[in-house]
């Protein structure tokens, strides 16, 4: 069962690198925000997997809960901050 958790964690790391492409090269600011949100939701799973591998899951659960809350607050604050701006345009067309 430990090997299943290890390979699931490695696969999640691969998916996080694929989402990082959208966070770096997204045409608008909101595309980057989508990439960051996807990485954050994968990290919540990865933290519990790390806790199961290290046999300290009662500590890592609290970190995962705090990380999920931090991810939500980050996306909410950033989207509220950018919605009043007129600078949201597609950077690839011009």
């Amino acid at each position: 069962m430990e090997h299943v958790f290890l390979y699931a964690g490695l696969y999640l790391c691969l998916l996080m690198f694929l989402s990082l492409y959208r966070a770096i090269a997204g045409p608008t600011i909101l595309d980057r925000l989508i990439g960051v949100n996807a990485i954050g939701s994968k990290t919540t799973t990865l933290l519990i997997l790390i806790g199961l591998m290290y046999h300290r899951v009662e500590m890592f659960v609290d970190i995962a809960l705090a990380y999920a809350m931090l991810n939500f607050i980050t996306v909410l604050a950033a989207s509220r901050y950018f919605q009043k701006r007129k600078g949201l345009y597609d950077e690839s067309t011009d």
Binding site: R22, S41, L49, V61, F72, L76
Partner: protein
């Protein structure tokens, strides 16, 4: 029991793969939010639910399993809210949705 947990974990990883492929491949920002909002939420609920089952059936850690199900409830409420906030920012900033380009002009 281990077979059920492994199947749930693989199912959640398939959902995560679909969400990541959708974020990479869809043409514009509104359509990218569709896999990012749904598939990531459901993948996280499935994988974290599998880990909660594994922890609940190991001895002496029922409180940890309860905390993990608290994570599931929290994410199930907050992830659609975050997605809706991103859409709202895009609409108020005046981003146009993607339409199919006319034929012969690619």
């Amino acid at each position: 029991m281990n077979i059920i947990i492994t199947l749930l974990l693989i199912c959640g990883l398939i959902f995560f793969t679909g969400g990541t492929l959708g974020i990479l491949r869809f043409p514009d920002f509104y359509s990218r939010l569709h896999p990012a909002g749904k598939l990531d939420t459901f993948g996280l609920v499935t994988t974290v639910g599998a880990l909660a089952l594994y922890i609940a059936f190991s001895p002496g850690s029922i409180l940890t399993a309860l905390k993990i199900s608290l994570i599931i409830v929290f994410v199930f409420i907050t992830s659609p809210t975050a997605t809706h906030a991103i859409v709202d920012a895009g609409v108020r900033a005046g981003l146009k949705p993607w339409t199919k380009p006319p034929a012969g002009k690619s």
